[in-house]
């Protein structure tokens, strides 16, 4: 079984820790507790391409990605860039953030995820997708659990394959 490192990053309060908790422990907490530094968790994922031990680093949110210690990104196989669909400030810098992440992790796969989809209608999500300059890979809701398993499973399948 392979082991890979995946990073959850993005602005603060977008729900990175909620996605982490939902995927690893299948639980959701309504109250907001800011992440200090980084939290590491593990989940064994069975994919059609083989099993994967996914080491997930939930990094403290920053308004811009160049403020995150670069060493956190070293040796990572995948980055999940999370934004909050209900807060435009969390995807305002998405182009610059993604350019920066690609510059420091040339070979890493990056997924763009819009979280808190339970707070928006389908029409709003469609409009949002047109507004954002980069394609959003998936809209998720850590609260309801919608698309969370799919996000990590798809990513794991890509990494193993």
């Amino acid at each position: 079984m392979l082991s890979k490192k995946v990073i959850l990053t993005g602005s603060f309060g977008v729900g990175k820790t909620s996605l982490f908790e939902r995927f690893i422990n299948n639980k959701f907490e309504d109250k907001y507790l800011t992440t200090i530094g980084v939290k590491v968790g593990k989940k064994l994922v069975n994919t059609p391409n083989g099993d994967l031990s996914m080491m997930i680093w939930d990094i403290a949110g920053e308004v811009a990605q160049n403020k995150v210690p670069t060493s956190y990104f070293l040796g990572t196989s995948g980055i999940i860039y999370v934004f909050d669909v209900s807060r435009p400030s969390t995807y305002g810098n998405i182009a610059q953030d993604l350019a920066y992440l690609k510059s420091i992790n040339k070979l890493t796969t990056i997924k763009i995820v819009g979280n808190k989809k339970d707070l928006a209608t389908e029409a709003e999500l469609k409009a949002l997708q047109e507004e954002i300059p980069l394609p959003v890979d998936l809209f998720t809701s850590a609260k309801t659990g919608e698309n969370v398993e799919k996000l990590f499973l798809d990513f794991a399948t890509e990494m193993v394959g």
């Binding site: 210690p69 070293l74 040796g75």
Partner: protein, 280 residues
């Protein structure tokens, strides 16, 4: 004074009552004016009140405990029992620092005392002692290590950049070692980034009696969790052991971390460290 007769008019009655009030209340009014004057004049008021206050203060000074002691004790006792956590939080850090300083100072005194005694008594010119003096552990290191024997509890081999676990050995397995390897790497990365020590490595993490020694190599690092006092020569023994282990058991390319690799390294770690005596 003319008393009202049944034939007096209401105007006359009012006039008569006014006169009567003036006669009856004139003394009271004068007394009231005097009191007001005294209250409004600070000097006069002070002259009257100060002796009373001084007298009462003197009384309290003599009899405070009898008068208010029980009440104050009850209030303080109640407050203390309600605020135990706050008091502990306030006192503990200071107490802890004082105790640590004291123990460190005592150890230093002990170490110096041992050194002095050994230097005085020992035959410093025998060939064996001369050799040990230059190439072996110091006398104080030997005595101290016997007092607080160092013991290796856990060994981790971790990929340097990703924090992925390449192998581990633990006397008692009770936590997820993959997560420990990740968190150790995160702490290491944070410390190295935070203090702008990009080219330098974090070498030790200490938690109460637990020490985690980090031995850094180009693409991976060892983390050794241990208890006890470790001397410089023991640290060197440990480093040599880790380097030898790496040369014999860790493949040159550790880019792809998989369970076959980690199982193989973990088995080798257990074989090397289960009976490892750091002092040998």
């Amino acid at each position: 004074m003319n008393l009202p007769s049944s034939s007096t008019s209401p105007e006359e009655e009012a006039q008569l009552l006014k006169q009567l009030r003036q006669v009856l209340l004139s003394e009271d009014r004068e007394a009231l004016a005097a009191i007001r004057e005294m209250l409004e004049d600070e000097a006069q008021l002070s002259e009257k009140v100060s002796p009373i206050i001084r007298q009462h203060l003197a009384f309290l000074k003599e009899n405070f405990h009898e008068e208010y002691g029980v009440i104050i004790e009850e209030i303080v006792s109640k407050k203390l029992s309600e605020s135990q956590d706050e008091i502990v939080n306030m006192i503990f850090p200071k107490l802890n620092t004082i105790i640590k300083k004291f123990i460190t100072a005592q150890f230093q005194i002990l170490k110096e005392g041992i050194d002095t005694q050994i230097k005085t008594v020992q035959n410093r010119f025998s060939p064996k002692n001369l050799f040990n003096r230059f190439f072996g552990p110091s006398d104080s290191d030997i005595v101290l290590s016997q007092l607080d024997h160092p013991e290796v509890h856990e060994v981790y081999l971790v990929q340097r950049e990703s924090g992925l676990l390449l192998g581990s050995y633990a006397k008692e397995k009770n936590t997820d070692q993959d997560v420990i390897a990740g968190m150790l790497t995160a702490i290491k990365s944070f410390a190295e980034d935070a203090f702008n020590r990009g080219k330098e490595d974090l070498e030790m993490i200490q938690y109460e009696n637990y020490k985690i020694f980090l031995h850094n190599l180009p693409s991976y690092y060892f983390a050794v969790a241990m208890t006890g006092s470790i001397s410089t020569s023991e640290k060197e023994n440990l480093s040599n052991k880790l380097i030898t282990f790496a040369q014999e058991n860790v493949p040159f390319d550790t880019t792809n971390v998989n369970s076959t690799l980690t199982d193989r390294i973990s088995t080798a770690l257990a074989k090397h460290f289960v009976h490892f005596n750091i002092q040998e």
